[in-house]
């Protein structure tokens, strides 16, 4: 039986990763994910694991690529500017079909930006990020408990589909302390016949690679990969609905924005407005069906984001513009208040009272 402990979100990710059998961590210092690397630096040597502070984010993600090619569970973590640096490596990991976990504890941007929480890497995380056609599976926790649970889930999905996954958190989720029930120990359960282990002179050599000079071959790898993605879109969508049964206003928010939004929905209900919350847990695959369904009985959406409005595009696509979508946002490290969200709910609900 696991114990409930009080932990920071960043530490919960680290402990959950270790419990998921991850014994290799590579990173480069950056705020606000610092506690994650510090936890790994303390724990890994005690359990026969590897913590290595790389010379750069670029080196760190390529060390991840190296371990991933041997089939072992491996991760790196960073925050927005650092994750931009990792994009080349992430593209190679996706192109070579390797499982790995990348954690982004987001901060405000662009450029050096700031160190306060943000969700402005949504596009980068969900649309590819690096060069070429690819996706990551992107999970967005909204509690310290989910920081732990979704870390384990990321490793499981990465192995299952042989692809990189991203845990997309933000500075608040990383720094916040909450009681958490740590996940049970787990590990790799799938066969990895493609992994580099040395041939032992028993088989043909394995090659981990993303280079295909014949365009017909490269095209085929792209089509095959997107076939896999369509299976993921069918089977792995996760979201939470709150008071959505009879909702007329659907608030869509993930991560810290969803927590703020839930308070606003409760207050709206008190004031007689039928508001509900749809919280995507997988940002890719996006819960498009759930949004589409909501569009059938809601008269408006409110997209609450810590960005200039990125997820709102997916809401508009999924709802097929059946009803208006309002953006309720703060940016640059600022967080919308429940009052601001409530005002947006009232605004879109207004007139029809």
């Amino acid at each position: 039986m696991s114990e409930k402990v009080l932990m920071k979100g960043n530490e919960a990710i680290a402990e959950a990763a270790i419990r998921a059998g991850c014994r290799h961590y590579f990173g480069y210092p950056i705020t606000p994910q610092t506690e994650l690397a510090a936890y790994m630096a303390k724990r890994m040597p005690k359990i026969g694991g590897c913590f290595l502070q790389a010379e750069s984010e670029i080196a760190a993600i390529n060390m991840v690529y190296g371990v991933a090619s041997t089939g072992l569970r491996v991760m790196t973590s960073s925050s927005s500017p650092g994750v931009s640096l990792k994009q080349e490596g992430i593209s190679y990991i996706a192109g070579a079909d390797l499982p790995a976990l990348i954690v982004n504890v987001q901060r405000g941007g662009p450029g050096l930006g700031g160190i306060q929480p943000s969700q402005s890497d949504y596009f980068q995380a969900t649309k590819g990020g690096g060069h070429g056609d690819y996706h990551l599976i992107v999970l967005a926790p909204s509690s310290v408990q989910e920081m732990a649970d979704l870390t384990a889930k990321c490793f499981e999905l990465a192995d299952k589909y042989r692809m990189p996954t991203m845990l997309l958190a933000d500075g608040t989720m990383g720094q916040m302390m909450e009681p958490v029930l740590l996940p049970e120990e787990s590990g790799v359960t799938v066969e990895k016949p493609w992994a580099l282990t040395g041939t032992k002179m028993q088989r043909e050599h394995n090659i981990v690679n993303s280079l295909y000079l014949k365009p017909e071959e490269l095209e085929k790898t792209n089509f095959d990969r997107y076939e896999k993605y369509s299976i993921i879109e069918k089977n792995e969508v996760m979201y939470e609905e709150y008071m959505m049964e009879d909702a007329e206003v659907c608030v869509v928010a993930f991560g810290i924005a969803a927590r703020v939004s839930k308070n606003a929905v409760v207050e709206a209900r008190k004031q007689g407005i039928k508001a509900g919350l749809l919280r995507p847990i997988t940002l890719w695959p996006f819960p498009s069906e759930a949004v589409k369904k909501a569009a059938e009985h809601c008269k408006a959406f409110v997209s609450v984001e810590l960005s200039m409005g990125q997820m709102i595009e997916d809401i508009k696509l999924a709802s097929e513009c059946k009803c208006p979508v309002e953006l309720c946002n703060r940016a640059g490290g600022m967080i919308p208040s429940p009052e601001q969200v409530l005002a947006s709910i009232k605004n879109v609900a207004g007139g029809n009272e």
Binding site: H24, F26, C50, L52, A54, E55, S56, I58, A59, A60, N62, M63, V64, Y65, G66, V67, A68, S69, T70, L72, V74, E88, G89, Y92, A96, L196, T197, G198, T199, K200, M201, Q202, H205, N206, I207, V208, N209, S210, L211
Partner: protein
């Protein structure tokens, strides 16, 4: 009677290298070392971006293709994951000494227990002959059409000397493959670089001064002469660092 055989660690496929290119010789020397040490079954090679990008098709051990310059980081990951396997990278000068300089220096300073084979032919071959970090002063290339001007393009990087200044690395040697005597020397050096890893001595890098007749605009023989007359005087051959006989190394 067979007097000369293809090493088992070299796949039986045609190599794509240009006529007169010395990559073929160095591939053979690497494969021969792997054969002689009986490590093919444990070896994992990391291919670069550059002319040797398809080395993964040429060595019969497990292979991975790295992003440009990142091979030492990829090799670090593999070696940390599988410390009992033998991990090597095979990289050119643009890959190792330009875009990948940080990865090279830091793998060396950590004394990662890996083997690096570094081909210095003073030019970017695959992309058609641009100036490399190791191009000689005055050397004409596609991107230094009036000759490398050290006032604006800086000086060539002497990788072996630079890495030897670090406390970390175990073994650094520069060799050449322009004549039989030098090839014999290179053969020994490459084998030692693998032996060092087997014995847990740490980071070994062998810089191989090589030729690129195609992009130098020379015949193979002229190119080998240019190695002797121009390259080796700038890049003297020899052992630049050897901690392998010291006690108490990792």
């Amino acid at each position: 009677m067979v007097v000369f055989e293809k090493p088992h660690a070299l796949c039986d496929v045609p190599l794509h290298y240009c006529p007169g290119c010395t990559h073929g010789i160095v591939h053979r020397l690497v494969a021969q070392a792997i054969d002689e040490l009986g490590i093919e079954g444990d070896a994992i090679g990391v291919a670069p971006v550059g002319c040797a990008v398809m080395a993964y098709d040429y060595f019969s051990c497990d292979m991975v293709e790295a992003a440009h310059g990142r091979a030492p980081a990829v090799a670090t990951g593999i070696k940390r994951a599988l410390p009992d396997n033998i991990v090597f990278t095979y990289q050119g000068d643009g890959d190792l000494a330009s875009i990948g300089m940080a990865e090279t220096v830091h793998a060396a300073t950590r004394n990662e227990n890996i083997t690096i084979i570094f081909i210095n032919n003073a030019i970017y071959g695959m992309t058609g002959g641009q100036m490399a970090p190791t191009s000689l002063p005055g050397q004409v290339t596609q991107t230094s059409p009036y000759g490398r001007d050290v006032a604006t393009a800086g000086f060539p990087i002497k990788v072996s000397e630079l890495l030897a200044a670090l406390d970390g690395p175990a073994y650094i040697q520069r060799v050449a493959v322009n004549n039989v005597k030098n090839v014999k020397q290179a053969q020994k050096a490459i084998k030692k670089a693998f032996e060092n890893q087997i014995q847990g001595k740490g980071f070994s890098l062998i810089e191989v001064v090589s030729s690129c007749p195609t992009n130098w605009g020379m015949t193979p023989q002229q190119a080998l002469d240019w190695v002797e007359e121009k390259m080796i005087p700038y890049y003297p051959l020899g052992v630049y660092k050897d901690k392998t006989s010291e006690e108490g190394e990792k």
